[in-house]
């Protein structure tokens, strides 16, 4: 976005949006184009805007070709591939002035003629496909590949790269390979024969994707759980978290099944609901397995009672909340960061929970591992707050790496020998002065047996209704949260750190903010940016808040939930914090951030960004 919107000749920097009907198989055509560009060494992002429906409703896919490697949604469309009659009008409106509209000219579309400031590219796709292929379903699918061919020609996408991709997909099904290749050529050749190509907006080989992959956050998180050594996954299906468990299962089938015996070193429990799913995780974790559950907002609401039990009885528990638009059922296929407060303070009574905020799929992988380490070290529920944008969209990330020296931090679990060495085992005693007690696992030793309960208990593990005994445990739990600040990942600072104006944010806002920083820089506005990776906030967060006079808190919800958490859980003065909010359900983009910061700084000159 930085500077180029008005530029005519935009190599490797433009946005193509595909408007389609869901359930018609357009996904493979869209990702074919995206992957081809990626393999040409050009950074891309793909954002999928799909309905909460299985078949027949409008769906969009947006490919951003971004030589700068920006990860955020762009807020304009350069090329619209308008394949859905129902949304034609809306889709055309969305196109920027000077943009290109590609449509299926098999049927005349008079409405198309209404904008003079765009270039309309007509391709008789249905006609071409129907003349060359049989079968209703087949024709629908191949029409998508045909428009991929059209785009390939218009954007100058390397045909050999596309062919390679097709071969990889259909290599074992020669008939399909043949029809797909032919369909692709239909579109490609039509353009080459009938239209001027390539467009000024086009792709050129680069070298910027080497050592990178295209992956979605749920896949990465599922893989992270496998690498972390999780053996029990429990869940109840819910968009947009379902694919996390699908991924875990898939990787386990691959890596965790004994080739000879067929024995599985994992168990996936499809629970009857989310209450049961988190109960299973608590049961399994209590019993010494690494266990987790992926869910989304409604699931978190249902898990509240059990989360309180996990907090108070100090049972490890890893919960992935792939956030979607709330409240209530909300918009299940749109993204938001609306569960921050409910996760931080889930359940009745005095509770407080550890949160991790991955910013992209890469971090989903690493933070999945960290989540288990933290949950076991701290003996408490840990939430990984991803969202639909991270979880279900394809992001360009550096290759995932694994350090074979990694050993899981199982926390303070006593072995049989250790128990035998004790005079007596007391479950909730603060022996090490770090507010973390020791635990034992069932099956280890009768001497280490204790009784786990969510009702009042004293530090020895006994039942109590005594005020003082109750408070000893509750006070230690509060101190444990302080201990947690030492274990959670530190924030990431971008910028010199010595500006008076700062941005604080979390998770999937990262791409948009980094892009916004570039734009602001071009406008000579320099600000520091701190991306928080975890709650509780550690000293680095406090220091940043303290050292900046004006702080913009960027987040994707209506009620400024991150700002609320900062206000409550740090020493920051409220008057320093300004919210920049996005809660449309679409991933946040850089534009509004830039605009709001500029507006705010202009309105209050004292806020002007200067190095301290």
């Amino acid at each position: 976005m930085p500077s180029l919107i008005a530029e005519a000749n935009r190599i490797n920097d433009f946005v193509v949006k595909f408007a389609n009907v869901n359930g018609t198989g357009s996904a493979s055509a869209n990702s074919l184009i995206m992957k081809a560009i990626f393999r040409m060494g050009v950074p891309v992002t793909g954002k999928n805007y799909f309905p909460s429906n299985i078949q027949g409703l409008p769906t969009w896919y947006e490919i951003r070709v971004t030589r700068e490697g920006y990860a955020a949604r762009a807020s304009h469309v350069d090329i619209m591939v308008a394949m859905n009659a129902e949304t034609y009008a809306k889709d055309i409106r969305e196109l920027r002035s000077g943009g290109y509209l590609i449509y299926d000219s098999t049927w005349p579309r008079s409405a198309l003629l209404q904008r003079g400031d765009i270039t309309v590219i007509a391709v008789p796709l249905a006609k071409l496909v129907n003349e060359n292929f049989d079968g209703v379903r087949n024709r629908i699918l191949l029409k998508n590949i045909a428009y991929a061919g059209v785009l390939a020609a218009l954007l100058d996408v390397d045909l050999t790269v596309i062919s390679a991709l097709l071969s990889e997909s259909y290599g074992k099904k020669p008939k399909l390979l043949d029809s797909n290749t032919r369909a692709l050529r239909l579109g490609y050749d039509y353009v080459k024969e009938n239209l001027t190509s390539p467009l000024p907006l086009r792709v050129e080989h680069m070298e910027k994707t080497r050592g990178h992959i295209m992956i979605d956050g749920n896949t990465a998180a599922g893989l992270g759980c496998v690498y972390a050594g999780a053996t029990v996954g429990a869940w109840y299906p819910i968009t947009p978290s379902t694919s996390l468990m699908d991924a875990f299962k898939g990787f386990c089938e691959r890596y965790r099944v004994d080739a000879e015996t067929g024995e599985r070193n994992f168990a996936v429990l499809q629970a009857e609901d989310e209450l049961a799913a988190v109960g299973m995780v608590l049961g399994a974790s209590w019993n010494g397995a690494r266990a987790f559950t992926p869910t989304s907002g409604p699931g978190i609401s249902l898990m509240n009672e059990f989360i309180g039990l996990g907090y108070y009885a100090e049972v490890p528990c890893v919960i992935f909340d792939v956030q979607r638009v709330g409240p209530s059922t909300g918009m299940p296929t749109r993204t938001q960061q609306g569960d921050i407060l409910i996760c931080a303070y889930a359940s009745h009574g005095d509770t407080r929970h550890v949160l991790l905020f991955p910013a992209n799929p890469e971090e989903c992988f690493y933070m999945a591992v960290q989540a288990f380490d933290l949950a076991e070290r701290l003996q408490t529920p840990v939430f990984v707050l991803s969202d639909l944008d991270i979880g279900m969209n394809d992001w360009m990330c550096p290759d995932l790496k694994w350090d074979d020296a990694y050993q899981p931090d199982r926390g303070k679990v006593l072995s049989k020998q250790e128990i035998d060495g004790l005079e007596k085992f007391y479950r909730y005693l603060d022996r090490d002065d770090d507010a973390i007690p020791y635990r034992t696992l069932p099956g280890t030793s009768a001497k280490g047996a204790y009784f786990t309960r969510g009702s009042g208990h004293n530090q020895y593990g006994g039942y109590t209704e005594d005020s003082a005994e109750y408070q000893v445990v509750l006070d230690r739990l509060k101190r444990k949260f302080t201990t947690a600040t030492k274990y959670v990942p530190k924030p990431v600072l971008i910028g010199k750190g010595n500006n008076s104006v700062g941005i604080v944010s979390i998770g999937s806002c990262d791409g948009a903010i980094r892009e916004a920083l570039d734009v602001l820089m071009l406008q000579k506005i320099e600000v520091d940016y701190l991306r928080i990776k975890a709650f509780p906030f550690n000293t680095d967060v406090e220091a940043f808040l303290k050292s900046h006079a004006t702080i913009f808190v960027v987040e994707q919800n209506r009620d400024a939930q991150l700002k609320a958490l900062l206000t409550l859980e740090t020493a920051v003065e409220k008057s320093k914090l300004f919210s920049i909010l996005s809660y449309s359900g679409l991933p946040i983009s850089a534009h509004p951030i830039v605009d709001e910061i500029r507006a705010k700084l202009a309105e209050a000159p004292r806020l002007t960004a200067v190095p301290r």
Partner: protein, 352 residues
Amino acid sequence: MSYINKPKVAHPSLPTNSLGLTRRQYEGSMSTLCAGCGHDSVTAAMVEACWGLSMQPEQLVKLSGIGCSSKTTAYFVSGSHGFNSVHGRMPSIASGANAANRSLTYVGISGDGDSLSIGMGQLVHVIRRNVNMLYLIENNGVYGLTKGQFSASADIGTKAKRGETNSSPPIDPVLLALTLGATFVARSFSGDKAQLVPLIQAGMRHNGFALIDVLSPCVTFNDHEGSTKSYGFTREHYHPAVEADFVPRAQEIAVDYPAGEAIPVSLHDGSRVILRKLDPLYDPTDRGAAYNYIENKLKQNEYVTGLIHIDEADNTEFHTLNRTAAMPLNSIPFERLSPGSVALDKLMARYR
């Protein structure tokens, strides 16, 4: 509630089991239930059953929800881990715990409120999932701990202590379990320890989900005239249909039963259950027939007790279905769980 610990000094003359442990060593904390509560008889039966099985205390896991009944787990085998979870959700804790370590013995203790109201969904699904555990319901027709409201197992027409008459039909956990395909379904009475102990032992050894519905009167809120879950009423209306003797693996069957009268059923671990039909019309191995028999008796206000249905052949226990490794999942070395850097590097190709 378990803050009062009983002294565990074993008297030298007390009989010991094959582990050399006395019954006292299978006790737990002092009960804080009302004097005479049926649940305490279940506690006693659990102690006896575990002692008799020569259960290694730490090999047992005790799980429960919330209620007077759910407190029971604190009162036996203090040498085993207990988990007193939240109201009605013990089955999910049990499912998770069992998934993590298939090698331990799981006993869940619940109440009729805990299981049939707030816990209905989880009960149904733990049966369906066929988790290898004994699930014992201490059924008294009321919510004891919250002071005597009718539970979902209260019979139509039964009277509350304060005079109200229950008008909703009861949910019978036995019929429910049969409908859901449970492979071990029993009913007993807290007042009949002789019947209950072998049922518990068999249930603990059954390779799959075993349900025992124990009529366990609440002396404080549901033991009056007009209640159908009182001691008096239960004693009069309970109808033992199949007696079960439990024979541990090592032991030879001493007595020969006349053919046709006794049905020996071999359990997974080599132990056996010898079923003696008290009613010749009854066949505990035929689920449909069992269902009808129970239902007809219920219509006549008779609670059929005993090992109502058992099916050792139909082995669909959770881990068998899942094809879980024999080694408990919580003990598999990390090296075998994490695929390592080489595999990861290789995998990356898929995402380019």
